[in-house]
């Protein structure tokens, strides 16, 4: 490849001699990538939880057509003092927070605004273990809207 004189190679030699040795930047970017990896793993877990919610809904309130719609939700729960849970549901397709409320641990009916596809109802209940200690909120299919 380099046996014959090549004026272009010679002309580009000063640029080729430029090197890239930035250990500080390399470490910083590595940290950023690791942070994003960790975040993405967490998001992936939540996305699975949201998909499970969708599967629950198929047989219940919303009908099969709602599955794809529900899969777009990202559900976050934070335990609060006083038997309350902060629930935030984000539509990942557009980033809009469709619900951001504190709800009682023991039970709650959440209405998610589904736009053209109509509202979706989710029932949230606190699960208790055998000793009566709370294990965390679960989301499953709610009663038919007509029941309320």
């Amino acid at each position: 490849m380099n046996t014959q004189p090549d004026p272009v190679r010679d002309a580009l030699a000063p640029l080729r001699a430029q090197t890239w040795d930035r250990p500080e930047h390399q470490r910083r970017l590595e940290r950023e990538l690791q942070e994003r990896t960790t975040m993405s793993m967490r998001t992936s877990l939540w996305a699975k939880a949201a998909m499970i919610t969708g599967i629950f809904l198929v047989g219940g309130v919303a009908g099969a057509g709602t599955l794809a719609f529900v899969e777009h939700y990202f559900v976050e729960e934070t335990d609060l003092p006083g038997d309350m849970t902060h629930v935030r549901i984000t539509d990942t397709s557009n980033g809009h927070v469709v619900m951001d409320e504190d709800i009682p641990d023991d039970a709650g009916i959440l209405a998610i605004d589904g736009g053209d596809q109509g509202d979706t109802l989710l029932q949230v209940e606190q699960v208790h273990d055998q000793d009566g200690a709370p294990k965390g909120a679960v989301v499953h299919d709610a009663p038919q809207p007509d029941d309320h």
Partner: protein, 205 residues
């Protein structure tokens, strides 16, 4: 040349001759591991950061832009890792492809920045044993070469950079760019002519 510091001109990194990752089977295993456990992506990053950094820096001559582009490249690689299918193509070629796309998206901005970069004498940029006049002359020569390269259409910059900076042969460039080898040959020929013309014009002016 803007943003060039003496520190950058010291340790030699990023040459293909010392770049690992030419074994595509090993690459495929590495990628599989990183898909199963994203924290394993760090190994890919550490292996390829120097070569991709050198490639981008030689193309644009701007350290800040190179840092930004490196972040874009590795974030894109992290997100798109499951889209990498070895098929005999080394991982570094896939990363070069991403880096090439990132550079091409920004080449007009990079060319503008290179044109506007200061040619003033920078005492920090004097190499060992070099006088101020020589340093200034070297800097001007470097700047005019960089500008000539950046004045070419992106597809011509691609083949020149991959061939002359990263030592890839025509067939390997074709694998990076996912185009026939004949296309690469023809582009390389046009790129040589266009670069020579652009450089001569700059030197005359």
């Amino acid at each position: 040349m803007n943003s060039t510091s003496p520190a950058l001109a010291l340790a030699v990194t990023g040459d293909e001759s010392i770049s690992p990752g030419t074994n595509s089977e090993a690459d495929a295993l590495l990628v599989e591991r990183a898909i199963a456990d994203p924290t394993a992506f760090t190994e890919i990053y550490r292996r390829h950061y120097p070569a991709i950094g050198a490639y981008l820096f030689r193309r644009c001559g701007d350290a800040h832009a190179t840092e930004d582009m490196l972040a874009e490249v590795f974030l894109a690689a992290l997100k798109g890792l499951s889209g990498y299918r070895s098929r005999g193509v080394p991982l570094r070629f896939w990363l070069y492809r991403i880096a090439t796309n990132v550079a091409n998206l920004r080449w007009r901005e990079l060319a503008r920045r290179a044109e506007n970069a200061s040619d003033e004498f920078d005492p920090d940029a004097v190499a060992h044993g070099e006088g101020p006049d020589e340093a200034l002359e070297r800097k001007e020569a470097l700047a005019s070469t960089q500008r000539a390269l950046l004045s070419l259409p992106a597809e011509l910059q691609d083949v020149l950079s991959l061939h002359y900076f990263q030592d890839l042969c025509v067939d390997d460039i074709a694998r990076v760019l996912e185009c026939p080898s004949g296309t690469v040959k023809s582009r390389l020929s046009r790129a040589r002519d266009a670069f020579t013309f652009a450089l001569q014009r700059r030197r005359r002016s």
